[in-house]
Amino acid sequence: MAAVDTNMTDAGLAEFTAEQLAQVDKIIADHRGKPGALIPVLEQVQEVCGYLPMAIQTVVSDGLGIPLANVFGVVTFYSFFTMIPRGKHVIRVCLGTACYVRGGQNILDKMSQVLKIEPGGCTEDRNFSLETVRCLGACGLAPVVVIDADTHGQVKPAKLEQVLAKYN
C-alpha cells in the first residue's frame, strides 16, 4: 500500500502536547456511546492535532471502542482527513497552464529533490509541506510559488534553496 507511509504516521503521541491530548480525550468522552460518533470525533480531533497519525487513530479506536481497522477505513475514505502532518510552512507550487509552460514542473521537481519529499508530503523536521495548485491568478509572474502568504514570482530552480532558507 504505497499511499501510507507507516513511518510517517507512527511517530507516537510524543509530538503532541498534554493540552492537545487532554482535548482529544474530552472530544472522545463527549461522544462515547453515541451512534455515528466516529466522523465528528475524527473531524474535531484533526482540528486539534492537525492530522490523524496511527497513534491518534489508536486513541480514538480505544476511546470509542471501534476497531482500529474501521477507524482507518474511514480516515482513508474521506479526503478531508489526512494522515500526513502539516509543516510549519506550506509551499504551494503552481502547475496552472501559464506556470507549467514556463517551467512549473521543473520547480516542483527541484523542490521535491531539495526537501526530499513528494508533493503532498511533509519534511522530516516538519518545517515544510509541499503542495501543488492550479493557477493562483498571478500568471504574469509565472512560474509562481507561494510560501505561506508570500508570493514568489519568476522563480528560478537554482535560487530555490536561497528562498527556502528564509523560512525556519
Binding site: M1, T9, M54, P67, A69, G73, T76
Partner: protein, 590 residues
Amino acid sequence: MVNLTIDNLKMSVPEGSTILEAAKSAGINIPTLCAWPEIHHTPGACRVCMCEVEGQRNLVASCVFPVSEGMIVKTTTERVRHARKLNVELLLSNHPTDCNICIRNGSCELQKVAEAVGLRTVRFEYPQYKEKKLDQSSPSIVRDSTKCIKCYRCVTVCEEIQTACVLQPSFRGDKVFIGPPFDLPLIETNCTMCGQCVLACPVGALYEKDDTEAVWAALQDPTKHVVVQEAPAIRAALGEDLGMPVGTLVTGKMLTALRRLGFDKIFDTNFTADLTIMEEGSELLQRVKEGGTLPMITSCSPGWIKFCEHFYPDLLPNLSTCKSPQQMMGALIKSYYAQQAGIDPKDIVSVSIMPCTAKKFECQRDEMSDSGYQDVDYVLTTRELSRMIKQAGIDFANLPDSDYDNPLGEYTGAATIFGATGGVMEAALRTVYAIVTGTNLESMDITPVRGLEGVKEASVEVGALGKVKVAVAHGLANARKLMEQIRAGKADYAFVEVMCCPGGCVSGGGQPIAPSNEKRITRAAALYKDDGAVQKFRQSHENPSVKKIYEIFLEKPLGHKSHELLHTNYVHRGTDMPHGKKASVKKAKH
C-alpha cells in the same frame, strides 16, 4: 412466490430471492466472485454476475437484484457475455499471471470464472498490483495482496463471523485496499489466526503458511526420528481433498499414507484428547469443590485462546489451564515417548496434522516447550497433508487400512468427537458423570450439545453435584455473545466449550476449501459414527493407554508431572495495535 422467466424458463421462487438464487434453483449457474452462499453480504463488487432484465436500461448485478412478478431475465445475450468478459478481463489486467505456481492453481475461482465467461485474451495491463507486498509475518497465514480481487468475503467473515475486525477495506475507488489497518503485518494485529478468511478467499490472496518443505526435509534426514499426530477432524475431511465423497471416514488410509510418506512413528491426537478429558474433567471438579473461577472454559482451540487474550483478558482465569491435545501430545512425545523408546528428544522432529491454521501459531508460543524443546516442531493443515500425498503420487482412495502406533495412539469415541462443536463438552460430561456417580450416563449421546445452533445449552443431573448447566459456542461471534453474558455475571454455567471455527474443527481454517453447513454436518456425522459404531470405548477414562500412562508416568490427573507437561498459562494481550514483537515467534530449531 414470484413468477419470472430466465432464459425462456418459467419459474416460481420465494419473494425476496435474487436473480442469482432464482437462476440457481433452475439449474442456471451465473458466475460470481464476491457473492458467496456462506455469508450474507452484498458488496456487488466484482460485476461478473451481470444479467439483462427486460425494461432495465443497464445490465444488473444478479447477486443483488431482487426478482419481481413477471420479470424477464436473459443471461446469455451478446451484451451480457461481453460485459462479463470485460469485467473479468479488467480484474485480470491488474493481477499477476503466475497461475501455474499459485497455491490456488486448480481451486481458484477467478480461474474458473475466466473459463466460464470464455476469456482468451487480456488486452490491458494495470500493474498497480505490483506495488503490494507479501505479508509473511504470521506463522499461520500469508497475505498476498497482489492477488486480491477485492471481493470483501474475508472482510465479512472476519468482522461478522469472527468479530476480530482485522481485515477491512480502506481508501477508495481504484485504490481500495483490503487488509489490516495501516497494512500492519498480521502478527502485530488482533488476528486470531483462525484461517476462516482463507476459506473465504476465492483466490490466492490469503493462504496457509506452507510448511511442507520443512517436513519433507525432516523425512529425508536419516538422523531425525520423525513422529506425527493427527487431529480428530482430519480423518473426516482428508478424503474429500483426495477424490472421495465428503464425510468419508478415512482413519486407516490416513495412517497408511503417513507411513508411506516416511513418518517413523504415527500417534494420534485423539489419545491426548482423552487425556485432556481426564485433566480438564478433574480441573472442573476441583474448581466446583474448592470454589474456583467458574464457569470454566475449554482451552483446546488456539484461535479462541488468542481471541480471549485480545478481547476478554479479564476472563483468562476462566480458561482451563489444560494445554490443547496437540500440545499435550507434543510435550509427551519429547518426554514420555523419548524416554520409553530410548531416543534423545533433540533428534525427534514432532509434526502434527491439524484442521487449523492457528495451531501453527500455537506450537510456536513461548509456553509450548515444557519438554525442554519446542514440543511440536511443524504443524501441517489438512490441505498441506493432502498436497504431500498428491506430490508422493499415492493413490489414496485405494490404500489399505493400517493402525496407529503405541503407546500414544489408542483412543476412544469420546476423543474423536472433539472435532465437532459440542464434542469436548459431551466427552467431558461422560467422564465427569462417571467419576462423580460411579455409574455411566444412561445414554452416551448428549444430543443437545450437537449440531450447528450458534450457542447451545444443556443441563445434566450429575449425582451429588446436582444440576450442571453447560453451554457450547462455535464461531467467535457466538463466543463473544457468551463472553458478554459471563462478563456481566449473567451466566450460571459451570462449564463452557468454545471452538473458534463455525462447526468446530471439522470446518477449521486448515480444512479442504469451500466450507458449507452441509459439509460441516456430514463431516461431523463421520466423527459421531467413529464414536458410536467404530471405537470400542466411548469414555476417555476407559482408554487402556490412558490408564497406563497415569500408572507408569503421570501418576494422577492434576499431579506434579501433569502440571509440568500438560498445563499452561495465558498472555494478557489486549486490543491495542500494533502489538509489539512480543506476539511474534521464535524460529523453529531445525
